[in-house]
């Protein structure tokens, strides 16, 4: 059990690679970079495989028990240094461990993250061979692997959040890899900022859980949620799960926070494949699936998840119908498929959602890597209008991409068929009533998916070349390092689906069985909640109802119809073609082509980059208005009060100076002074003159009395 006991080593392999690149990467040869960075991921993959197989043995001995190992306590101690008051007034110790949890759910993620990650690392050695910043790219990729593995192996929300932020950072760094290109740096900013909005929700959800449950460890929270203390529909749990779902919306690009993902295609193509298709964007799905015990206690949240998922699926798929950039089509496809996954989670079909994540990781990574190979062959051209006729020139890329297309379109036998059909079936059967509308949305989305994927493949590979001669001359099949991963992923895109062969097709739904320990209790809760429907669904699962076959046939028909329509519309594209939607309804085409003007609306409403005349609207407008209000009205009032005080002071001081001091105090004094002048004249100070006056006076008196 060495490997299982040391699963904490798995994230450290790529961390080591990232550290080496950080400190020494600049001086290393490309071969050394390859050896270190690809090597550590291969090691992580092999380690994961062995650990997983050992876990299977462990699970056999301890059925239903996740494997948990705590390396050390990272935040908080047992001595109560970080105590806080819970909602019920009792005190709880805040504690976050560097602890790792391996159960079927994280096991599946562990395998496909390291597996797909390894293939994409190998692919990148070919794709990035002629790019600058080679070591930087691989350092970031390794850092991403480290963060992603931390995220999925964490045994508590806090450590998960560390990984969550880490992948956000790496996403930012890798989208902005060509940082000298302005569009790339703004796309990186956009991704980072939009993700922060989601992260705020995640954080608040986390705090709510800590406040309500007193612990952030998944096992503790699940245990409490299962304990029956909490009623179904508990408002606090509903709030917490909705907040968590906001986080998931940001990371997994759901409405209304999906806007960053299409722009994220500014990054190198392997990054789009690894981060923005296969692994990071499924972190939101993982988080919701991980919190399933909470979500089932909050039916309102479940409904929200399902509705948001379904709307995102059809919304993004409809945009994908008319985009011309090959990577952008795939980006919208990713958003749409993520919507499917949330739809599955929202209707309570956790296993189906996870199954779709699993199959999607392979075929979407393959599609992106294939598009990378196409772009590589086309000397950097990404516009499908300038492609065409590549099928014979790059046959391996063509065949693998065709397989992935069939898989995502839902052609029977390929991986996407099983997982998507499972989701549609669950959407139809789990709740009934208005929820059938969700099935309808999913069904239409499937039709759209088949169409836009068919359009992509036909425009790229069929018909005759439409590119310039220079470019045509340079077209070549990619090197082995790129094609081998394509072939392996193509293989997985076919066979990954067979793991979850449903009962109705004679399989045993092994995938769902395997995940049962994670989700089983939740089904129990659902069963208690709506016993009749669940019983009906259970029965249908065992005795496959004819409706399931009918729905299956419908979606297969939709897949073929979509591909067929695409073929019909574009197979003569060398002679000029018209978009069928543009021909049928030009306003709709404009709306879709401009992505429903969501970016523009956000520019008006949130970023303030667009104004109506001189007036900014929305949040920034509110900010500007508030700022104006603050600087004019509030500050004006304050300044006015100041002015008034000053004026009063000036008046008062004038009054004091001139009326009180002047008129009343100094006035009489001046009057006295004035009156004293004649009297002062009499007293001029010379004694002899006084004496003279006295003598004259005396003589006068004497004379008067003498002569009278």
């Amino acid at each position: 059990m060495f490997f299982l006991d040391h699963i904490w080593l798995i994230p450290l392999f790529p961390a080591f690679g990232a550290a080496v690149m950080f400190f020494f990467g600049r001086k290393l040869q490309k071969q050394t970079v390859n050896a270190v960075c690809v090597g550590v991921v291969v090691l992580a993959f092999l380690f994961s495989c062995v650990a997983f197989s050992q876990y299977l043995g462990y699970a056999h001995d301890n059925p239903g028990k996740p494997y948990q190992t705590i390396v050390y306590t990272w935040l908080g101690t047992d001595t109560g240094g970080m105590n806080f008051v819970k909602h019920d007034g009792t005190s709880a110790a805040f504690q976050a461990d560097v602890g790792f949890l391996l159960d079927p759910l994280s096991g599946i993620w562990l395998l496909f993250v390291t597996g797909v990650g390894m293939l994409i690392h190998i692919y990148s050695t070919g794709y990035m061979a002629h790019e600058g910043g080679y070591y930087r790219f691989f350092g970031y990729l390794n850092l991403f692997m480290f963060s992603m593995l931390t995220l999925i192996l964490a045994n508590n929300y806090v450590l998960m959040f560390v990984g969550w932020e880490g992948v956000g950072l790496c996403s930012y760094l890798l989208i902005g890899f060509y940082f000298h290109r302005h569009s790339a740096s703004t796309a990186a900013n956009k991704a980072f900022i939009v993700n922060r909005i989601g992260d705020a929700g995640f954080l608040l959800g986390m705090f709510t859980i800590a406040w309500y449950f007193g612990s952030l460890r998944f096992t503790d929270v699940n245990h409490l949620a299962h304990s029956g203390h909490f009623a179904i529909g508990d408002p606090i749990i509903t709030a917490a799960t909705l907040l968590l779902f906001v986080g998931a919306c940001g990371k997994s690009a759901q409405l209304p926070l999906y806007v960053w993902l299409p722009d994220a295609m500014e990054g190198p193509t392997p990054v789009s494949a690894l981060i923005h298709a296969a692994t990071m964007v499924t972190a939101g799905v993982y988080m919701v699936a991980r919190s399933n015990a909470l979500f089932v206690l909050a039916p309102a949240s479940m409904k929200t998840v399902a509705i948001v998922g379904a709307l995102t699926a059809i919304f993004a798929a409809s945009i994908g119908l008319v985009q011309n950039d090959i990577k952008r089509v795939l980006a919208y496809s990713t958003v749409s498929q993520l919507g499917y996954m949330f739809l599955a989670l929202g209707v309570g079909a956790f296993a189906a959602g996870v199954f779709h994540v699993f199959t999607h990781a392979f075929f979407k990574a393959l599609l992106f890597l294939g598009s990378g190979s196409v772009i590589h062959a086309m000397s950097g051209e990404q516009d499908m209008r300038n492609m065409g006729g590549l099928s014979s020139k790059i046959p391996i890329t063509f065949r693998t991409m065709a397989i992935a297309t069939l898989a995502i379109a839902g052609i029977p036998g390929f991986a996407g068929f099983f997982s998507k059909d499972e989701i549609l079936w669950q959407a139809w059967s789990s709740e009934g009533g208005a929820y059938r509308l969700l099935w309808l949305i999913g069904f239409v989305t499937a039709l759209m998916t088949a169409f836009y994927m068919g359009r992509l493949v036909v425009l790229t590979f069929f018909s005759k070349p439409r590119m310039s001669h220079d470019v045509e001359h340079h077209i070549h099949e990619s090197p082995k390092s790129m094609t081998v991963p394509l072939v392996i992923l193509a293989f997985c895109s076919i066979f990954a689906g067979w793991l979850g062969l449903p009962h109705s097709l004679g399989g045993s739904d092994r995938f769902a069985k395997f995940l049962e320990p994670v989700f089983a209790r939740e089904e129990g809760v659902l069963q208690a909640e709506e016993p009749t429907k669940f019983a009906a669904a259970e029965k249908e699962q065992e005795h496959t109802s004819p409706i399931e076959y009918a729905l299956m046939a419908l979606s297969v028909a939709a897949a073929f119809a979509g591909l067929g329509m695409a073929w019909k519309a574009y197979n003569r594209s060398d002679k000029g073609y018209e978009e069928p939607i543009a021909a049928a309804a030009p306003p709709v085409y404009d709306l879709l082509y401009n992505k429903y003007y969501v970016d523009e609306a956000y520019d008006y409403a949130f970023t303030g980059r667009r104004k109506v005349g001189d007036v900014r609207l929305g949040v920034m407008g509110l900010g500007e208005a508030s700022s104006w209000f603050d600087s004019h009205v509030i500050d004006g009032t304050v300044n006015g009060a100041g002015w008034m005080t000053r004026l009063a002071g000036t008046l008062s001081s004038w009054w004091d100076k001139w009326i009180i001091d002047g008129l009343c105090v100094r006035g009489p004094a001046y009057l006295m002074l004035l009156l004293s002048y004649p009297i002062k004249l009499l007293q001029w100070g010379l004694v002899q003159w006084y004496a003279l006056v006295m003598v004259f006076g005396l003589v006068g008196f004497v004379a008067y009395y003498a002569w009278r």
Binding site: Q683, W684, G685, L686, V687, Q688, A691, L692, V695
Partner: protein, 101 residues
């Protein structure tokens, strides 16, 4: 030779008194002014002594008081003068006008 009568004394005393008054009023030097005051006092003394020939000794007694007073007055006056001189380095009457404040 006609005998010396009281009238003679009174004339001499009056002459002395007028000399004294003129001295007090006209001289600039404070010392001389003080001396002129002595002249006035002595003219008074002469009058007193002359009248005591006619009406008894009271006049002489009073003259002695006046002499005493004159001595005291001279002492005080000269003292003030010295103090004044130390302040203003002058004994000119025209510059002694501090009493107007």
């Amino acid at each position: 030779m006609a005998p010396i009568t009281t009238l003679h004394y009174l004339v001499v005393a009056a002459a002395l008194f007028i000399l004294g008054v003129i001295g007090v009023l006209t001289r600039r030097n404070v010392v001389i002014v003080l001396m002129s005051i002595e002249l006035i006092l002595n003219a008074v003394n002469l009058n007193l002594v002359a009248f005591s020939r006619m009406w008894g000794l009271h006049g002489q007694v009073f003259a002695i008081f006046v002499i005493t007073d004159a001595a005291a007055e001279a002492a005080v006056g000269l003292g003030i003068l010295i103090a004044f001189f130390r302040n203003k380095e002058t004994v000119n009457m025209d510059e002694v006008d501090l009493l107007k404040w």
